[in-house]
Amino acid sequence: MLDKLLSPDQGLIIWTVASFLILVALLKAFAWGPLLHAIEEREAKMRGERERAEKARSEAERIQKELESRLAHAADEAKGLIAKAGQEGEALRSRIKADAADEAKALLEKTRAQLDEDKRRIVSDLRKEVSQLSLLAAERLVKKSVDQNTQKAVLDQFFAELGEKKN
């Protein structure tokens, strides 16, 4: 009886193949198709999200780098500006100093010239005064009336000689 165990029923082999292949088709349509489709969709979505996240991260990193470089650039620029301002200030200071020195010198010259001028005028005035006074004194002294023009000529000459000697 048990020898039947090892003698395959040919009809059942055909039944098995047919039933199994039909089951493959049915399960493909009603189970594996929708299931695998859902799985692949989800995987694609996850892949897309991961790619998006990676892209966003690299973008953020790029922006950070750019900001850092821009900051470094700004720092350099600021340093340059400060140095330039310092130089300009220095130049301005020296120019103002030079101007002031020039002005002072000019003022000094002017004052000196003025003083010379004043001195000259005062000396000339003084000379006139002194000549008149001397004349008056000499007149009184000699008690003799002399022609005023002659008197003056003699005195002028006297004072001119005096001036030359002095110089």
Partner: protein, 266 residues
């Protein structure tokens, strides 16, 4: 009661009659065929519900199913068949779940349901059923091989002659190798058939053997036979549960190995 009769009743197929004949072949409606159809209907209903159903129960089932499906896809089909294997994924998934459900259905005591006309037993414990599944694998090997490499490339696959040989050596060597390769393929298919069949039937035989111990030894008055047999039967049942999963996986894995082998050049 004759133990051979008991074994025969539990292990052998039983025909309810001939549906039609294909030439000399009788297409019988048998116990195991009905079990297969029952399992197919159950697979279709449960897997379809798990894949497309709404609600909490379907979600739980779908989560579990996805874990198995992803395991088979990422650890069996993809490494062995490459990305092209995704086209055959539904075949491997069906193969795994069909064998698994047949194996598990054979462990259900359907006989005990009142009014059951005798629809029970392990379909995968029938050598005709495992032969049918192995022949389907053979069909997939040929189909996948021809589709991936062309008919000529597929046939060349059976004649792995090193290049640069003189034709006087290459021709006889090719014929010899072709014979060996064809024989190898036949052995693979035969081994698939016998492996699943023997694994499924062995557990049943061992369980029936332990039950028989009760009647054989118990008759002589040894009282501990019953508890011992019960313990051993429970143990073997647990083992069978493991084997049910293991053999379904091994059949699927080997099918993938064989199909992957012909789809790529070595």
């Amino acid at each position: 009661m004759n133990i051979e009769q008991v074994l025969g009743h539990h292990l052998l197929d039983h025909s309810f009659g001939t549906l039609f004949t294909l030439g000399p072949i009788q297409m019988n409606l048998t116990k195991h065929l009905l079990m297969m159809w029952l399992v197919s209907a159950f697979s279709l209903a449960s897997l379809g519900f798990a894949a497309r159903g709404q609600g909490q129960a379907a979600l739980v089932l779908r989560t579990g199913l996805e874990a198995l499906v992803l395991y088979l896809r990422d650890n069996v089909v993809e490494p062995l068949l490459g990305h092209e294997g995704h086209k055959y994924l539904h075949y491997f998934l069906t193969l795994f779940f069909f064998i698994l459900f047949c194996n598990l259905a054979g462990m259900l005591p359907l006989d005990a349901i009142p009014g059951n006309p005798g629809v029970s037993g392990t379909a995968t414990g029938n050598v005709a059923v495992t032969a049918g599944l192995a022949l389907s694998t053979l069909g997939l090997i040929v189909f996948g091989g021809v589709k991936a490499q062309g008919l000529l490339g597929f046939l060349k696959h059976f004649m792995p002659i090193p290049a640069g040989l003189s034709p006087f050596i290459a021709l006889p060597l090719g014929v010899l190798l072709f014979g060996i390769e064809i024989l190898g393929l036949a052995v693979k298919i035969f081994a698939l058939t016998i492996r699943l069949f023997a694994n499924m039937i062995a557990g049943h035989i061992v369980i029936l053997g332990f039950f028989a111990l009760i009647f054989i030894i118990g008759r002589s008055g040894v009282l501990l036979t019953g508890p011992f047999a019960l313990f051993m039967v429970t143990f073997v049942n647990c083992l069978e549960l493991l084997v049910a999963f293991l053999q379904a996986f091994i059949f699927t894995l080997l099918t993938a190995v064989f199909v992957g082998g012909v789809m790529h050049h070595h």
